[in-house]
């Protein structure tokens, strides 16, 4: 270290955090020092634990073990000078931007005029031009983010955390925001941390770059000692591809595709017995694709065919009749009814069959649940509420329900989010089993590694468009990572 080593503003000491609801260790023994006058970039795959780590630093989450030590000796909080600007700041749609900004301001409400002049002065320092009288509802994410940021600067801050600050910005706006952040850091001997997945941004604007993978801090480096290439292989290391336990027979090319998209942003052909995986970074179009392929949203362009039928404008009910099953990424919001009994959660496609003469008999409902539970080794009693199960068991129940009627096409979105290793293994076994039984399977996942493990073909979605599908043998995780980030040799 240089003789006049900079003051440490905060030390993260062996921080760990496990979420009780799914048992995932989001942050695992992370230690890190934040220095006065530095801009730190935090890189990592989706689910690497970046956001959780930042929430711990800001005092919004409490660590299971380890601690955050501030130079001031206070516990971490906004009061202690640490602000976290979320990617999508929460807001009240009917408030104006200035009202939004002064909400939660410490002390007495300064009055409209005083508040406005405070905000305008703060915004001017940042070079933000904002219409403070605009309603939050109409303002758009960028103005909201700027208003939120401006408001934070009414507090005396020492550490500013920005979660994906430039995700919604164009290149020029991103530059101006990051330049202002850097100027503020230098001027005030403060510290800024920005979470990002844009490698070039971190190289250009950060003084140090920290990389997280699976809850652990795997490297801290400086832009001078690093490069796009080096960061990319830190994020997506060359890994031994795990041996696929049972290889799937290749489907006959003469077979007509059972699921097909033509003239869309992501064209593909899918045959029975195939497992196609599409991967993307968050916010690069996978969420939209999930809804468009399953009938929840309209396809903006092109046509969709299922079992030889044009289903571009088909209803969800029609898609399901034609043999489409779907395991959504939003398990509790869309994929289940958390406060209903397990039995109620597995019978939606079976109710008519279970109600001979129009009366749903509880013993046949329970009988069906028990039979399904036996075949898929599900946990729980038929009358138990779904929320009482663990994340892995909930996912298994949803997969069992969707696989039970031998679907022609099974779409799974983020199937292993929040699952531990054992639950993942079980899930992949079920997916292969469905493929062997003749289902065509499409997996949308932001974890490239899992696609390499379970799929027969893999493609990458970037900026909403499919970048080409290859057989899984032709991918390595390093190649996939580069394709995801758009790093061209």
């Amino acid at each position: 270290m240089a003789p006049n080593s900079p003051a440490v503003l905060a030390s993260l000491v062996r921080l760990s955090k496990t979420f009780a609801d799914n048992g995932v260790r989001a942050v695992d023994e992370v230690s890190l020092e934040l220095q006065a006058g530095e801009v730190l970039a935090l890189l990592g795959e989706n689910g690497a634990g970046k956001t959780t780590l930042m929430a711990l630093l800001a005092g919004l989450e409490v660590p299971d073990s380890g601690e955050v030590v501030l130079a001031s000796g206070q516990p971490p909080s906004l009061k202690a000078g640490i602000a976290l600007v979320q990617q999508h700041p929460p807001f009240a749609p009917e408030l104006t931007l200035w009202e939004h900004a002064v909400l939660g301001l410490p002390g007495r409400f300064p009055g409209k005029k005083a508040a406005r002049s405070l905000l305008e002065a703060s915004a001017a320092r940042w070079g933000f031009a904002l219409n403070w009288d605009e309603l939050c509802r109409d303002a758009g994410p960028l103005a909201l983010q700027k208003a939120t940021l401006t408001a934070f600067f009414l507090h005396p801050l020492t550490i500013l955390i920005l979660d994906e600050p430039t995700a919604a910005l164009g290149p020029a706006e991103a530059r101006s925001l990051l330049a202002s952040v850097r100027a503020w850091v230098r001027e005030n001997h403060a510290c800024a941390v920005f979470v990002t997945h844009k490698l070039h941004e971190s190289l250009e604007w950060a003084d140090r770059v920290a990389v997280m993978r699976a809850g652990r801090l795997v490297a801290t480096t400086t832009p001078a000692d690093s490069s796009l290439e080096a960061l990319s292989s830190l994020l997506f290391p060359r890994r031994q591809r795990p041996q696929v336990q049972e290889s799937l027979p290749a489907p006959a090319a003469s077979l007509p595709p059972v699921f097909m998209a033509q003239g869309t942003r992501a064209d593909f052909e899918l045959r029975g017995g195939e497992i196609l995986g599409l991967t993307s970074l968050r916010g690069e179009g996978a969420e939209e694709l999930e809804e468009e392929l399953t009938g929840l949203a309209d396809l903006p362009e092109g046509r969709l065919f299922l079992a030889g039928t044009d289903v571009t404008t088909a209803s969800i009910a029609a898609l399901r009749r034609l043999g489409l099953s779907y395991v959504p990424s939003d398990r509790m919001g869309r994929g289940s009814s958390p406060y209903s009994a397990l039995a109620s959660n597995v019978i939606p496609y079976q109710v008519t069959r279970l109600a001979p003469g129009g009366i749903l008999r509880s013993h046949s409902v329970r009988g069906y649940f028990r039979e399904l539970a036996k075949r898929f080794s599900l946990q729980g009693e038929p009358g138990q509420r779904l929320v009482t199960l663990s994340g892995g068991n909930i996912q298994k129940l949803i997969v069992a329900r969707e696989m039970d009627h031998g679907p022609k096409v099974l779409i799974l979105a983020e199937p292993s989010w929040g699952l531990d290793l054992e639950a993942r293994r079980e899930l992949y076994r079920l997916i292969r089993q469905a493929a062997r039984a003749g289902s065509a399977i499409l997996i949308l996942s932001s974890e490239p590694q899992e696609l390499l493990e379970v799929c027969t073909r893999v493609g990458v979605l970037r900026e909403g468009r499919l970048q080409g599908i290859r057989l899984v043998e032709h991918w390595t995780s390093e190649l996939l990572g580069r394709e995801l980030l758009g790093v061209v040799n």
């Binding site: 399901r320 994929g335 406060y339 209903s340 939606p348 008519t352 009358g383």
Partner: protein, 343 residues
């Protein structure tokens, strides 16, 4: 929006409801003892009054039969996640439609005319409910707002129609319509009380809805809709028809209550005759936790409290507002309980 949820274990749900009721009854007794000049006679008339004569308990039964209908109406909508706050207007419009049928159909139709009038009431109520359903299906308009606003605008329209030449009695200054022909009156039971044969509809309807909601595929889908709308949509339910259906059904039951009030009790449409039925139906549905089976005891209980507090008020010991205060106490404990469970 907070909805009372049926507990996965019905025994726990039941026992906590009973506890809430016990606490609110206790609160009532305390009020009576503390504020009454003759606590003992006040307690007597509160607890025994509603059953003291055929008049008293005939009226209690008649009122609770109407509350069973409006309670079922609210339950069906709430259970399916549709907030029908337009009960008042739907009851009133149902009454108007039944009145129109009874005034303009030839009296020789007799029982058939009664049936036609009841059906008209149901259709009118269903129509008003379905308008909100259609607004929701087409433009995602919040039914909480539209049912309430439509109802609030229907009431003054019906008020003015009653006294118009079309329905009004010539030369009368009463705020009521003409009397309907006696052929269309629902025959009375337990004279001189208000009870009539039409009130007997309530029990079989509660049974039918209990079976429909709890034990049919169709009821399963409605409950799914109430529990998690996004999940219901994901399983392939048509959001358009399942927006219309619960509100339409709910409106039909409200309309039937209005029609029964006209044919069975008033034999005319008296301005404001159904005031409070819709709101009290919501209270009954909340006490019953939207389960049709529980609507009957909930309606009986609610009516008992209403009549009992009227009895005490009639004795002159208490101000008129007491009745509302007791009902508020019950609702308070029931809803407080819901909030606790949700938090």
């Amino acid at each position: 929006m907070n909805l009372p949820r049926a507990h996965a274990n019905p025994l726990i749900g039941l026992s906590s409801t009973l506890l809430a009721l016990a606490v609110s009854l206790l609160a009532t007794v305390v009020l009576l003892v503390v504020f009454g000049s003759h606590p003992l006679s006040a307690l007597m008339s509160f607890f025994v009054g509603p059953f003291s004569s055929p008049l008293a308990w005939g009226n209690t039964l008649n009122q609770s039969s109407l509350l069973v209908l409006t309670g079922l109406a609210a339950s069906v909508a709430f259970g399916a996640g549709a907030f029908n706050l337009g009960g008042e207007g739907q009851v009133y419009l149902g009454g108007l439609a039944a009145l129109a049928a009874a005034l303009f159909l030839p009296p020789v139709w007799g029982a058939l005319g009664i049936l036609a009038a009841l059906v008209s009431g149901m259709v009118a109520g269903a129509g008003l409910g379905a308008v909100s359903g259609a607004l929701k299906a087409r433009w995602q308009a919040d039914e909480l707002i539209t049912t309430f606003l439509l109802s609030a605008s229907v009431v003054p329209v019906v008020d003015s129609l009653i006294t118009s030449p079309l329905f009004g009695a010539a030369g009368s200054f009463l705020i009521t319509s003409r009397k309907i022909p006696q052929e269309f009156w629902l025959p009375g039971l337990l004279a001189p009380s208000n009870l009539h044969w039409g009130a007997l509809l309530a029990l079989p309807l509660a049974v039918i809805f209990g079976v429909l909601v709890n034990s049919t595929p169709w009821g399963y889908r409605l409950r799914l809709l109430g529990r998690n709308r996004a999940f219901a949509q994901y399983t392939g339910l048509s959001m358009a028809s399942y927006s219309l259906l619960p509100l339409g059904l709910s409106g039909a039951l409200h309309g039937l209550a209005g029609a029964l009030g006209v044919l069975g009790t008033q034999h005319a449409l008296v301005q404001g005759f159904s005031s409070g039925w819709g709101w009290n139906g919501i209270a009954v549905a909340l006490i019953a936790r939207t389960n049709p089976w529980a609507v009957v005891p909930a309606a009986l209980l609610f009516t008992f409290l209403d009549q009992a507090s009227r009895m005490v008020v009639l004795q002159g010991q208490f101000p008129f507002q007491l009745s509302a205060l007791f009902q508020a106490a019950i609702l308070f404990f029931i809803t407080a309980q819901i909030v606790r469970r949700r938090s």
